[in-house]
C-alpha cells in the first residue's frame, strides 16, 4: 500500500504541474514580468476579460524589470518543449523568436479582426514575420519625454527647453540656483535613453533612421554624431554625483521633491508622479524631449504565442490575442500603465493630459513619418547591436577621458563585429 502511494506520488511529480492544472476547456499560460502594482493590476483586467469569455488563465510571472530573468526561464521552457502558451516580449524579441520558428501564425485572426486597419501602422513590420502576424501589441510607450518640476521652473522663471542648446542654458541657470538640472540614474539603459534623445534632437528623424536603425557608417562617423557625444559629455556636469546605479524611479523622486529640475524618461515615469499625487500641468509638466517635437519615439510590449498541438491551448491563445486588442482592455490597461493604446481608434477621453498629448503627437508623427522605434528599448535594433550601443554609450558617459571620436570609433568597430 505504502509503496503504491510512493509510486503514484513520484509519477504525479514527474508528470509536471502545468499539464495537471489546465485540464479541460480553452486555457492560456501567460509568462510575463509585469509584477509591479500598476502593471499587475492592468494585466488583471485582461485575465478577467478572458475568464468572462470562458478561458482559464494560468499566471507565470518572472520578476525582474528588464525581462532578462524571464527570457532565461522562457528559453529553458522552450528547449524542454514545455513552452508557455503566451509570453511578453519587446518588439525586436518578437522578431528574434519568430526567426527561431516557434511563434504561432495569427494571420487568420488578424484578417478576421481587421488588424491592418486598427493597429498603429508603424508597429506592423515588427509584429509580423515573412508576411504573417506573429504577435499582438498591448501598449505603446513613448521614450522622448521631458518631465520637469513646474514649481522649480516657475520660481526660477524658466521655460522648458525645446532644443538641446536651450537645455544647456536652462541647466546652467538651474545649477546657479543650486538645483540639480537633470535627474538621471546611471544604469546603461538610462544613459542609452539620453543618447537616443540626443541623436533625434540634434540630428532629426532622418539622421536617427540612418544612424540607429540602418547603422549607416557615414552617419555614425558624421559631425552630427560628434555633436551628439559632445552633448552627452556636457550633461556630465548637469547631474548629481550619486547617480551611478540609481533606478529610474528614484531619479523621478528627485524631480518630485524638487531636488532636480528635469528628467528625460519614458511615460512610465507618470506612474511615480501620480503615486505622489502630482497633477500634470500643475505640479509637473510633460513636453517632448529637447529638439524632438513632432517626433514620437515608441516602444511596445507584445505577446507572442508559442506553437502547440493542444486544441484547448490553441483556442486559449486565439482568445487572448483577440482580447488584447479589445477596446475596453486597451483603455483600462493603458491608463494604469501610463502608455497609450496600440490601436489607433480607442477613445482617449479618460486619459490624463500627457496621455492625450502622446496620442495626438503619435497621430501627427505618423503622418510626417516621424514615428520612430526606440533604440534603448529593443525596438530599433536587435539585441546584439543594441548591446554595442549600450556598452559604448555608458562607458563614454561615465569615463571622462574617452573622447567623442574614440566613442564613434568603438561604435563602428563594435557594430561590425555584431553583424
Amino acid at each position: 500500500m505504502l509503496n503504491r502511494n510512493l509510486v503514484l506520488a513520484t509519477a504525479l511529480l514527474l508528470s509536471g504541474s502545468t499539464t495537471m492544472a489546465l485540464a479541460g476547456g480553452p486555457n492560456v499560460e501567460v509568462m510575463h514580468y509585469w509584477t509591479s502594482g500598476s502593471e499587475a493590476a492592468g494585466l488583471n483586467v485582461l485575465k478577467k476579460l478572458l475568464e468572462e469569455r470562458g478561458v482559464t488563465w494560468s499566471d507565470s510571472p518572472v520578476a525582474g524589470g528588464t525581462g532578462m530573468n524571464m527570457v532565461q526561464v522562457l528559453r529553458a521552457r522552450i528547449a524542454s518543449d514545455t513552452a508557455p502558451a503566451a509570453a511578453q516580449m519587446h518588439a525586436q524579441q518578437v522578431q528574434a523568436w519568430a526567426s527561431e520558428g516557434v511563434l504561432t501564425d495569427l494571420t487568420d485572426l488578424a484578417k478576421k479582426d481587421d488588424w491592418a486597419k486598427v493597429i498603429a501602422p508603424e508597429l506592423v513590420p515588427l509584429i509580423s514575420h515573412d508576411g504573417s502576424y506573429v504577435a499582438v501589441p498591448v501598449n505603446v510607450h513613448r521614450s522622448n519625454w521631458l518631465w520637469y518640476n513646474k514649481k522649480v521652473f516657475d520660481s526660477a522663471g524658466l521655460q522648458p527647453p525645446t532644443t538641446w542648446d536651450e537645455f544647456n542654458e536652462v541647466s546652467e541657470k538651474l545649477l546657479a540656483k543650486g538645483v540639480t538640472p537633470l535627474a538621471l540614474g546611471g544604469q546603461p539603459w538610462q544613459e542609452l535613453d539620453l543618447f537616443e534623445n540626443a541623436v533625434l534632437g540634434i540630428g532629426g528623424a532622418d539622421f536617427y533612421r540612418k544612424a540607429v536603425i540602418d547603422e549607416d557608417e557615414a552617419a555614425l562617423r558624421s559631425d552630427t554624431m560628434v555633436k551628439v557625444f559632445d552633448q552627452l559629455r556636457k550633461m556630465n556636469k548637469y547631474i548629481d554625483s550619486n547617480y551611478p546605479g540609481r533606478d529610474w524611479n528614484l531619479a523621478t523622486q528627485m524631480v518630485i521633491k524638487g531636488e532636480a529640475g528635469m528628467q528625460i524618461m519614458g511615460d512610465w515615469a507618470k506612474g511615480e508622479l501620480s503615486l505622489a499625487n502630482l497633477q500634470p500641468n500643475v505640479d509637473y509638466g510633460c513636453v517632448p524631449a529637447p529638439g524632438t517635437k513632432g517626433s514620437y519615439v515608441w516602444l511596445t510590449d507584445n505577446f507572442g504565442f508559442f506553437k502547440t498541438k493542444d486544441k484547448d491551448k490553441q483556442a486559449g491563445q486565439l482568445a487572448m490575442a483577440s482580447a488584447i486588442l479589445d477596446k475596453g482592455f486597451q483603455e483600462a490597461f493603458n491608463i494604469k500603465k501610463g502608455s497609450i493604446p496600440s490601436r489607433i481608434d480607442v477613445s482617449m477621453d479618460k486619459f490624463d493630459f500627457c496621455g492625450k498629448a502622446a496620442f495626438a503627437d503619435r497621430a501627427e508623427a505618423q503622418k510626417s513619418q516621424k514615428s520612430l522605434p526606440s533604440l534603448a528599448h529593443n525596438a530599433a535594433a536587435g539585441a546584439a547591436k543594441t548591446g554595442v550601443f549600450t556598452d559604448v554609450v555608458s562607458t563614454f558617459f561615465e569615463t571622462p577621458s574617452v573622447t567623442s571620436q574614440q566613442a564613434i570609433e568603438q561604435l563602428v568597430t563594435g557594430l561590425k563585429s555584431a553583424q
Binding site: N3, V71, A383, T386
Partner: protein, 313 residues
C-alpha cells in the same frame, strides 16, 4: 514489491551467503548501487554540460542553441569585445587583491584570537558572521555604505570635514576596489576560522621549546608557526580562488557592472551576453575561457595531491 529491506536485513544477520543469486549480487554491490544515481547525475549535469558548452562555443547560436559550426569565430569576437578585456583585467585585479588581503587579515585575526583571550567564542562568532550572509546582502549593504550621498562620505562630511571624498563606488577607475572591500569583509572571518583550526593543531611543545631558547613571540610566529601552516594556506587559496572566480552575485548587487562597464567580471559578462544580448555562443566561448583558466589553476593542485597520495601509499 519490497526487495531491498529483506536483503539489508539478511545481510545484517550475516546470512547473505545463503541468499539467492540476485540478492547476493544486490547485497555485495549495495554501496555502488546507492552511489550510481549521483554519479550519473554528476556525469551528465556537470561534465556533460561542460562538453555541451564547449560545442556551443563553436557554433553560431544566438537566442537558442543551433548546430551550425563556425570554427573559432566566436572566440575571435569574444576577444575583440572591449568589455570582455575589461572583465579579464578585472578578474585578475580582483582575485589577486581579494585572496591576498583576505588571507592576511584572516591570518592576523586568527593570531589575535589565538592569544587565549577572554570571550574568544564571542569574537570568533562576530568575525565569522559575515560568512552567514549571501553575497547579495553583502553587496547591497556595501552599496549603501559606499554611496557618497548616503554612506561614509556623507557621514564624515556631516562631522564637519567638508572636503572629505570617498567616491570609489562611482568612479570607474576605482570601482573594482570596492568589490575587493566587500569580498574581503565577507570572507576574512572564514579564513580566520581555517587558520585558527590550523594554529590549534600545532604542537605546543615546539613553541615552548622555542620560548626556552629565548625566541620572542614575533620570532616564534615567523619562523615556527607560520611555516607549519602550509596546508592551511593551500586550502585557503583554493577556496578563495573559486570564490573569486564565481563572484557573480557580489557584482550584480554592488555595481551591476558599472559605472561605465568598469566592474564586469567574466561571469557577469557571460550572463549578459547569453541572456541579455542573445549571443549564446559568445557567452559559451567566455565560459570556456573561464573554465580553462580555472583548470590551469586547479590542475597543478590536484596533480600534487594525487602524487602525494601515491607517495604516501
Amino acid at each position: 514489491m519490497s526487495t531491498t529491506f529483506p536483503v539489508l536485513q539478511t545481510a545484517k544477520r550475516g546470512q547473505w551467503r545463503e541468499g539467492s543469486g540476485v540478492k547476493l549480487w544486490l547485497a555485495r554491490n549495495a554501496s555502488q548501487l546507492a552511489l550510481a544515481p549521483s554519479v550519473a547525475i554528476t556525469l551528465l549535469a556537470v561534465y556533460g554540460f561542460m562538453v555541451w558548452t564547449g560545442v556551443v562555443s563553436f557554433t553560431a547560436s544566438k537566442m537558442l542553441p543551433s548546430y551550425e559550426f563556425v570554427g573559432l569565430d566566436q572566440y575571435w569576437r569574444l576577444w575583440s569585445n572591449p568589455i570582455w578585456r575589461i572583465a579579464v583585467d578585472n578578474i585578475f585585479i580582483f582575485a589577486i587583491l581579494f585572496i591576498a588581503i583576505a588571507s592576511v587579515i584572516g591570518m592576523a585575526l586568527a593570531i589575535l584570537v589565538d592569544q587565549k583571550i577572554r570571550a574568544e567564542g564571542f569574537f570568533r562568532t562576530i568575525y565569522l558572521y559575515p560568512m552567514a550572509l549571501s553575497f547579495i546582502v553583502t553587496g547591497t549593504a556595501w552599496k549603501w555604505i559606499l554611496n557618497p550621498g548616503l554612506g561614509i562620505e556623507r557621514m564624515v562630511r556631516l562631522w564637519g570635514w567638508d572636503s572629505f571624498r570617498f567616491d570609489w563606488l562611482v568612479d570607474p577607475r576605482f570601482a573594482i576596489y570596492t568589490l575587493v572591500m566587500a569580498g574581503v569583509w565577507q570572507s576574512s572571518g572564514f579564513v580566520m576560522a581555517l587558520f585558527l583550526a590550523a594554529l590549534r593543531g600545532i604542537d605546543e611543545d615546539i613553541t615552548k621549546a622555542a620560548r626556552l631558547d629565548g625566541a620572542g613571540s614575533f620570532q616564534i610566529y615567523r619562523r615556527i608557526i607560520i611555516p607549519q601552516l602550509g596546508p592551511a594556506f593551500l586550502t585557503v587559496f583554493v577556496i578563495l580562488t573559486q570564490q573569486a572566480v564565481k563572484s557573480f552575485d557580489l557584482v550584480v548587487a554592488l555595481t551591476a557592472g558599472g559605472p561605465g562597464n568598469s566592474t564586469h567580471l567574466p561571469a557577469t559578462f557571460m550572463y549578459m551576453q547569453t541572456f541579455g544580448r542573445d549571443q549564446m555562443a559568445v557567452g559559451a566561448a567566455s565560459a570556456m575561457m573561464i573554465f580553462m583558466t580555472v583548470t590551469a589553476v586547479v590542475t597543478p593542485y590536484l596533480y600534487s595531491d594525487v602524487r602525494k597520495q601515491r607517495d604516501d601509499a
